[in-house]
Symmetry: C3
Subunit: 398 residues, 3 copies
């Protein structure tokens, strides 16, 4: 990448309408304009180019990036830390275990108390249906109120690092990988992607990955197929959105009931375990009511049900049915690899191994996607700022 | 706030005698000169103004701010992190659980081992009477010795983030809120503040907040009233200090035995639960001797005793008895709000709700107060440094 | 230290062959060239001089220093944090407990996932024989592969913060202390160092300290003596290396079986507990096989065996037998001090107390040694970079 190419990318970014992203949040991709989605990709690529040219991307001299992880995390934690560091923000983690968040302390209060110096708040809350997004929205509303009331000097932006509905930093990183793999957004029209359920020895994996994929990939004129065993439905709202978007983009969205059908002639396959929406809802209720025995029973029932679908595995035979037997295999990682991380899992070891490098590249986009979302929410004229970085050419490593 | 106003504030700061703060610690407000107290407020306001003007306040290019939290904390943790970040220091937390601090490793050793690159050490240790302050003093003595012996290249400053005796970052943030609320320090003379005990379903809350308030507010010619049920006394030393200071400042300090009396005609009310000093002393002994059954019994006894005073609640009726029914309600947060965070607590929900915004503003001063204490302890000529920041006008967010 | 002196040190550094350190790792000192070892000391001293002159040593505008501590740590954690901060890197800790590292997730995957923006990875993994170094090597191989495959934009350097074989940041800090104590590397020829086992009430302390010492100190023409009770052998490979190095440097390496013999006429004594190599091997197997009862039995057996050697204590009487009764006492800390941190331990309280200040100074070199290792692995021409820092003379504290 050279200066001329980066300048061109910045010009393209300048032509996009990103005004509404300024001081806004990033919750669901489908709530964002096409220009905004494009701007996230464009900015991510510019940031990567600058870094590869050893040009500093510090737009903040100081400032905090708050993180709230309500579930264990390595990849997202490190991606968020990388994104903040790249822009000059220091991560301050709200660890709900060592903090004084008492029973009954309102979200509104906590949100304000941690935000006096916060430029951004990244949240992962993907455990319970109907909870994660609601929590993020409440945090966003609270800091807006705090800003309006003169409590906060700045209104931090909330970035969804995975909720119960969408996982935008994942789906956008995935899409950027796809764009680069196929040589440009313009080459995606008509390409078939099979987002399919796959067997895992665990139960209760979040729905936000499949939902995020069908909720984003249907915008690009692609042939998006969701496949899962009966009962493993995702949220209906998201499917509606996928349908509408597919129509508008000249693509297609459909649901099928076998991996075979989904894989046939697919350009991309994304086999991954998730829990049925209905189960996730039931789980949420049981946890709320503190019915721990019923919860155990539910888990047992689900594991038994899951076990019926052990043949939903991404095998070499299935891969052969894809376009020229060479579909791009994708996963958000970590995958349940048969014979490696478990006895029977989502994917055959040989398939995973063949795609290891592309999988790691897929993951490598996430820090840039997060940094891009932060940048676009904090700067009214992102193109101008990026131009300034390019011109100043302050070295990251001296 | 404009440049002219900030320049004036810096001039005022320049006129104050802050020489003894340089390379010193901040333990108790009452050990500080009037000029020093004023300087903390002044510096905090200048830092806030600079930040609001988007001017970087980084006085450190690199350096560590160590934190030691011996009790859970959200507010103070984030305030300390904000303060350090604002000045350019990176927080490094000493987590005594994941550290190798063996039984018998001396405070002197640990203090030196963590301080090779430390510019400041913030400590919260408020759990046991006679312990917290002693620990902080020991850390301060140890790093002084380390510096004198040539072990440490710099002598880090210790900042008390709450001990058993005082909570200076809280009381100073509270006071700065009051100063701004009443339009200036000169308007505080004769204003009545009711620092009163209030019922909470928990027991054993630290005494350092009420002690901090009476130990600071009595310096400003105010009418300071402490109210609590019989037996819920605070430390006698601190009351002596409050009395002397009130006299010297032309104010008044008195203790009364009912919330009603304290609230009558008060300009400010600060109703908050705390444990009796005698109980806190007993608790310390029991913990030291490992008498866990006796500790349980003590807790039970205290809860029973506490329950007698459920009527010590900041209700709407009580608020009506304050000056024009409009006293400023204060709290260090989180408050025990009746019907919200507990069944019966320190304050009625409607009162709390009406004061939510001022309460959050009150809390918003803490990062600046901490940053101010750090700055004054690390720079011999703080006014000069702040002028430099203003002139250079390096943007915080580019 | 003045500018002229630092310039001279930089010139000396420039004359050394450090080319192979660039983009490399630091595992064992004995795998490094003499020039490389000298360069680490020289760079550490230059960094210390710059800091003492209040000159910023930030060579990174942004970037991450990853840390992986598989054992509790205070000293090393803070030293690593200090080293990173000094150079401009932000520490991001991989906490394997709050991360999503599932059973079966490969080291290769984790290593890549945390390294997208990493300039350095510091690892402490000293618990099991045959594990620690192997793990570090695997991380290094993985990130090399990731870089070669285009997954990582930079290949982070791995720094051994203590493994089962060597503890290079400790032994190098120790040696720098010795060099300064005796007034220069040229004064070490013929000096006798007694690296001896000592009794501790615990069992299973790592072998990497004694191995690190004999594996490094034998390069300087010293008379290196290892002493331990029968059965408390260290790894044979390391002893072989020590023997060869001693020969090559015109020094001597020998093993004796009593503290008395080792201490006689010694210039330096380093009495410290460790577990027998054979025991550590057995422990590793038992843990691998999950034989917890056998492990308990092993521990009991070792403690009983240890108890036979309580007289292996660094007493005043023993100290009198050293050169002029004034040998330099060394320890990596924390020490088991008789009557202070335990009833009977490695060293008499009065001996420890007399050497407290030198011990703390010994420890103070570690942050600089780590920073030096990082710097030498990230910059092809370190002398040039350090000259630039000296010339620019950007203040660390303004």
């Amino acid at each position: 990448m050279n200066t001329k190419q980066v300048t061109d990318m910045i010009s393209l970014l300048e032509s996009l309408d990103t005004g509404q992203m300024y001081l806004g949040d990033f919750f669901h991709t489908w709530k964002k304009l096409d220009d905004e989605i494009t701007a996230v990709f464009q900015t991510a690529e510019i940031l990567r180019a600058l870094r590869e040219m050893n040009i500093s991307t510090r737009l903040f001299d100081s400032g905090l990036g708050i993180s709230i992880f309500r579930d264990n995390s390595t990849r997202t934690r490190f991606s968020y830390a990388s994104a903040c560091n790249m822009l000059g923000l220091e991560v301050q983690d709200l660890d709900e275990k060592t903090s004084q968040i008492a029973h009954g302390e309102t979200v509104r209060e906590t949100a304000n108390m941690i935000s006096f110096m916060a430029d951004v708040i990244g949240i992962r809350d993907d455990m319970y249906i109907g909870k994660g997004h609601r929590y993020m929205q409440e945090v966003a509303d609270s800091v807006q109120e705090g800003f309006d009331d003169g409590v906060l000097e700045q209104r931090p932006s909330v970035v969804n690092l995975q909720c119960d509905v969408d996982h935008p930093t994942q789906s956008m990183a995935d899409m950027l990988h796809v764009i680069n793999y196929f040589g440009g957004i313009e080459n995606l029209k008509g390409k078939k992607i099979a987002m399919t359920w796959a067997y895992s020895p665990s139960y209760g994996k979040p729905l936000s990955v499949p939902q995020g994929i069908i909720g984003l990939f249907t915008r690009f004129g692609m042939d998006v197929v969701l496949a899962h065993p009966e009962g493993y439905n995702v949220m209906q709202d998201v499917e509606q959105t996928a349908l509408k978007q597919a129509e508008a983009s000249g693509g297609r969205y459909q649901r099928v009931s076998s991996m075979e059908e989904a894989f046939t002639n697919a350009d991309i396959v994304y086999p991954k375990s998730w829990a049925p929406f209905a189960v996730m809802e039931e789980r949420t209720s049981l946890v709320e009511e503190g019915k721990w025995d019923d919860l155990k029973a539910l888990e047992q029932r689900c594991l038994t049900e899951n076990a019926k679908y052990k043949h939903w595995e991404c095998t070499e035979d299935l891969m052969k049915q894809t376009k020229d037997g060479k579909a791009l295999y994708m996963h958000c990682l970590p995958a349940d690899i048969s014979g490696v991380s478990c006895t029977e899992g989502e994917v055959a070891a040989s398939v995973f191994e063949r795609y290891r490098v592309p999988l790691y590249k897929e993951a490598s986009y996430k820090p840039y996607i997060i940094a891009s979302m932060i940048l676009l929410s904090r700067f009214e004229n992102p193109a101008e700022k990026l131009s300034m970085l390019l011109e100043n050419a302050q070295l990251r490593v001296r």
